[in-house]
């Protein structure tokens, strides 16, 4: 088992408009892409982010060696309970996942 953030070059999270959050896992090489693509279960991401599994979108993009997840924002951007205006910190949680 390894921490995802220790084995891939970059994990990034960003807003995709005020209502969506998107997380890009840049794996760097085809070998690492296969390892992440096969090893990282969608259910684990759903659980980690307490996301609505029916709305989660997952893209395994071999041409870029990227695994991408998009979920409705846990809180709509900028509402009273939102803590992170630009959504960039969710990447830290994903980077701490064990794979």
């Amino acid at each position: 088992m390894s921490r995802l953030g220790d084995i891939v070059p970059k994990v990034r999270s960003k807003n995709a408009g005020p209502f969506w959050l998107t997380i890009d896992i840049f794996c760097g090489t085809p070998e690492m892409f296969r390892r992440v693509s096969e090893g990282l279960k969608t259910e684990a991401v759903v659980k980690l982010l307490q996301a609505d599994a029916t709305l989660l979108k997952r893209f395994d993009i071999d041409s870029l060696n990227v695994v991408k997840f998009s979920i409705p924002r846990p809180q709509i951007q900028g509402t009273r309970l939102d803590r992170d205006m630009h959504g960039a910190s969710f990447a830290a949680l994903v980077a701490e996942m064990e794979i």
Partner: protein
């Protein structure tokens, strides 16, 4: 062939001046720049104001106006003043007038406005012309009426109309990020898929290159696709930097919805022409049956006052959650008893899990914790009142009854900081239009004369 020069990802963000100068020597057909985004939150649309400093905006806009003069081609900005509300368009138009007066230029400016009266949207809602996207908040005519600003995202048709006036400068309210780049290539018959795809790649300037801070890029559109060339001396575009940009702030990296259709890049191919230019073909534009424009709206969400206390005593740090829970309970009860309802109180722990909250199961606490008291209330007076009732708790609340009164650190006097009215985004919907122009207005003004 149409050449679009994109100075940077947003006016006010800065760019490499040499890269812009190099771009001008490439003889572009138009200079296009984005002026905004929702990414900084609902405050800007709520208030109809710009995120960037007026002085920075003026300094950069002056340079772009000079670049326009030199190139002899239109200068176009979309989503002026961060939010693209009518007041933000007027703000940039005023800045443009000031610059023209200072440089002695006489200019024709086309002004495209995207602001929507609540009555129009409420009427459209009743007529079934407003459709929710996923996930969409519930809306009603009353909620629409509460919005301080509603804008619709203009498409390529609107930008084309503005350019057809022969204006030297186009100042547009809210537009899609892409429409300001795709409009001219589309009207000159370039490949529609290529026009929209190139526009998406170019909307953030040099972000899709190896040197994001260089800002300026040139995109050449033609009958089959587009070619992207960075203007920064060290900047390179590679098939990877270009194709990876489809991931950026996009929930779906293959499909992008626009007024009048959608872009599909599933079959696109990215080819390196040399070590710094990339050619893209195979992108597809799929027209839709209905013409829809996306809506953005911000409404008032109450008045906010925040207070900050710093806790350094290790026993309090170790028991900080229990301490905060006790304060929230006791303070809220006291507020209800003395001042009434219509408020919310939250104590957020900076240095613990302030960033991610309950999702951050592994969060650790250090030697000190910042306690950010966040009060949101229906009125400004109530927000202040709650924060003032909170004050003695943040200063002196003991962990147990049987101990000397503690005192915590306030970095400021008063510790209460008034954030004023706060706003929230409340629309994730599209508006169907029978005619693209029925929800937008265009006028031309002569300035500097």
């Amino acid at each position: 062939m149409v050449k679009v020069l994109i100075p940077s990802g947003a006016l006010g963000l800065g760019y490499d001046r040499d890269a812009l100068a190099r771009g001008i020597t490439e003889k572009p057909d138009i200079i296009a720049i984005d002026g905004g985004s929702t990414d900084s939150g609902p405050h800007y649309l709520g208030t109809g104001t710009s995120k960037y400093s007026a002085n920075s905006t003026k300094a950069e806009w002056r340079e772009l106006m000079a670049a326009r003069r030199e190139a002899g081609v239109p200068l176009l900005i979309g989503t002026a003043g961060t939010c693209g509300a009518d007041s933000a368009v007027d703000w940039l138009l005023d800045i443009t007038r000031e610059i023209a007066a200072e440089t002695g230029e006489t200019l024709k400016v086309a002004v495209l406005k995207s602001g929507q009266p609540a009555s129009r949207i409420a009427h459209a809602l009743g007529a079934g012309k407003v459709t929710p996207l996923v996930p969409a908040p519930e809306i009603s005519p009353e909620l629409i009426d509460e919005c301080t600003n509603i804008v619709a995202l203009a498409g390529a048709e609107h930008i084309q109309g503005a350019l057809e006036t022969g204006a030297d400068i186009v100042i547009a309210g809210r537009t899609t990020d892409t429409a300001i780049i795709s409009a001219l290539p589309l009207s000159r018959g370039c490949h529609p898929g290529g026009a929209w795809h190139g526009a998406k790649i170019g909307e953030c300037g040099a972000l899709a290159t190896t040197s994001p801070n260089s800002g300026t890029i040139l995109i050449e559109f033609d009958a089959e696709g587009f070619t992207m060339t960075p203007m920064g001396a060290e900047a390179r575009a590679t098939p990877h930097t270009v194709s990876a940009h489809m991931l950026y702030e996009n929930s779906d990296p293959y499909v992008l919805y626009e007024p009048g259709g959608h872009l599909d890049v599933t079959e696109a191919t990215y080819t390196a022409l040399d070590d710094r230019r990339v050619r893209v073909t195979g992108s597809k534009w799929v027209p839709s049956e209905r013409y829809t424009v996306k809506l953005e709206g911000a409404r008032k969400a109450g008045y906010q006052v925040v207070s900050l206390a710093l806790v350094r005593d290790h026993r309090y740090v170790e028991n900080i959650r229990a301490w905060c829970d006790d304060i929230e309970t006791k303070c809220s009860a006291k507020v209800r008893e003395r001042a009434g309802d219509g408020f919310s109180l939250e104590l957020r722990l900076i240095g613990a899990d302030a960033t991610l909250g309950p999702l951050d199961a592994k969060a650790q606490i250090g030697s000190e914790v910042g306690v950010l008291g966040i009060v949101t209330a229906d009125t400004e007076a109530m927000a202040r009142e709650v924060a003032k009732i909170l004050n003695p708790y943040l200063l002196h609340h003991p962990l147990t009854e049987q101990e000397e009164m503690p005192t915590f650190a306030f970095p400021f006097s008063p510790p209460e900081m008034n954030r004023g009215m706060v706003y929230e985004f409340c629309l994730n919907h599209v508006l169907e239009l029978a005619d693209p122009w029925e929800a937008f207005s265009l006028e031309t003004v002569e300035i500097g004369a």
